[in-house]
Symmetry: C2
């Protein structure tokens, strides 16, 4: 009788979350910010998973700018399991790297892949699906969690299940296709059909299964990763620095999942998932006062409603303004119309173009 497989978690924390500028910076990205309560999004991710994955089985992939802060925020994780990618190469090489390392430590490893910057308001409900997904993955399947869509979002990819998926079932279902971000009319059809679910980037598989798939669908990256010495080897880090930048810059969805056969998924029901994609999304999540203002810090709202106000150490006075995002930091102040909060990322792009490194 084979021994029960051990579950590992890979938390992907290399993103920047530029739409949360000026709070988010290279060294203070969205996942390390405290939006709700006193735990950052990545801390909440670790907390939430702990009943299923003990922290010493968690790995984090991030970048050089963020690693120190993440190490500080996650003292329960072994430091050497928080890795900085030598280059940003999207999710396929990152997941491949983690699978390679885990496989060398535990040939029976089953890994789950988790974003670091989402919110989940019903963690117990969520964990039922995580446990189910790990179980299916331990049986050799590639598994994905689908989020029941609440509106025809054009910013997410979709998972198309075989017809007849019933939300909330703990039985894995066959995935027919992965669909990239759709235009609005198509997104509407997806939501209406009932068997399209949001792809929130949560994947489960045996490391051996994923590495096989990489060899099949992304051989260059697979070969580069296979050339690395064992993780414990003192030359691992320098070899990684040499090899990783040559990996393909591609997502795991595109590189593997869209091509692999026999992928299954869980058509989950509501566990309060939210990827908090903008200041406006955060506003929608938070409790508001009688004038529909969300106030972090101190504000005096005169004939003003619907505003998100985030300032520390100063009074913010509003006079006759509505539906604004106001975020004050020592070196940058953002004032945006809430309905255009997505465009905050454009400001960051402009600052990058202007090489305003101190503001990034």
């Amino acid at each position: 009788m084979p021994r029960r497989a051990t579950y590992y978690g890979l938390i992907l924390a290399g993103g920047r979350g530029t739409r949360f500028w000026p709070r988010s910076r290279r060294a203070r990205a969205k996942q390390v910010l405290r939006f709700l309560g006193d735990r950052s999004l990545i801390q909440q991710t670790v907390d939430r998973l702990s009943p299923v994955i003990p922290p010493d089985h968690l790995w984090v992939l991030t970048n050089e700018h963020l690693r120190a802060e993440i190490v500080r925020q996650l003292p329960e994780l072994p430091k050497n399991q928080i890795l900085a990618e030598p280059a940003q190469r999207n999710t396929a090489p990152a997941i491949g790297l983690a699978a390679h390392i885990l496989q060398s430590i535990d040939p029976n490893a089953v890994m789950g892949v988790f974003p670091s910057d989402h919110m989940i308001s019903k963690p117990a409900r969520y964990l039922r699906f995580v446990r189910g997904a790990f179980k299916s993955a331990a049986e050799g399947k590639m598994v994905v969690l689908g989020i029941q869509p609440r509106w025809p979002e054009t910013g997410y990819g979709y998972i198309e299940f075989a017809k007849g998926a019933s939300a909330g079932s703990l039985e894995p279902r066959a995935v027919r296709r992965f669909r990239e971000k759709p235009e609005l009319p198509r997104a509407k059809r997806y939501v209406k059909s009932g068997n399209f679910y949001w792809n929130a980037g949560m994947f489960f598989w045996k490391t051996s299964v994923l590495l096989d798939a990489l060899r099949e669908f992304l051989p260059k990256t697979a070969t580069l990763l296979a050339s690395l010495p064992a993780f414990a080897n003192s030359r691992f880090s320098s070899k990684l620095k040499g090899a990783f930048p040559h990996c393909e810059n591609i997502s795991i969805d595109y590189a593997v999942l869209e091509k692999a056969r026999g992928v299954v998924g869980f058509a989950t029901d509501d566990f309060g998932w939210n990827d908090v994609g903008s200041w406006n999304a955060l506003y929608e999540l938070l409790p508001r006062d009688g004038s529909a203002n969300v106030i972090r810090g101190e504000a005096l709202a005169h004939a003003s409603s619907g505003n998100y106000i985030d300032a520390e150490g100063k009074l913010v006075a509003l006079v006759g303004v509505n539906d604004l995002v106001i975020v004050d930091t020592p070196d940058a102040l953002l004032i945006a119309d809430r309905s255009r909060a997505q465009e905050v990322g454009d400001v960051v792009k402009l600052l990058e173009k202007q090489r305003r490194h101190n503001l990034l």
Copy 2:
């Protein structure tokens, strides 16, 4: 032949300019702020008058909070000519006090009264009227400068001249009546009539004439002022502290000008007067960029126009916002709709009610 009368100026600088909060504070009122160039409004007042009144003939009445800053900003004035009123008692007692002091120094003194917080963009043109007004005052008249109205403003008092006043004439004309701030329909009639001019608080008279008028129309204040020792007397300051708070709290317009006989005035033409009554008024005065934004400091305006942005030491990023006033200071940030900039004063009133002295 009597010797030529000497001209003195009294600059009234006791106001707070609360509508310029959070830049304006008790100790940094509107008149000491630099809105245009590197000279504050009170410094510009002194500069502008200097061809007619040398600085050592200028006197300033202000309050305890502001005196130190004004002394610092006006080193060309003798320090003891910058006085703090022991209590805020509107313009009649303040002007009476200055007249009393000047009269004791120079029995032939002719004084002009000037606000400290207005802008005048054509000073040479302005000084022609100031000289004319001093000349009439030296002949014993009470003289007022009227500003040709540019719109039916309800926030100013009006001077009604005898019919037939022609704007820009250097001949003084009889004043028929002083009119208090009108409602809009009346203001419209005033502007249409052609012989109503704005009262900008610029008055000229021999100190002896003003003191006579005070004795006639405001005997209590006149008696209190007459009880003071000479200005040079060491007990002057303490006696003033005792007497001044008992003076009537009343404007010179209401106490004297509305009642006095034979007041004359100048119906001036445009010398670029502006009392800069709000952030919006300031916005209207300043040069704007291609998106009609006024930027003091550094800002990045993305799909945003018509904003007044005033922040030091940080980048302000705007996304899709229009016609706002944004003023950032270390302890307070104001964001107001430009069309409601007048209501900034209400915020200050609220802060006073809440006893937030550190923000006032």
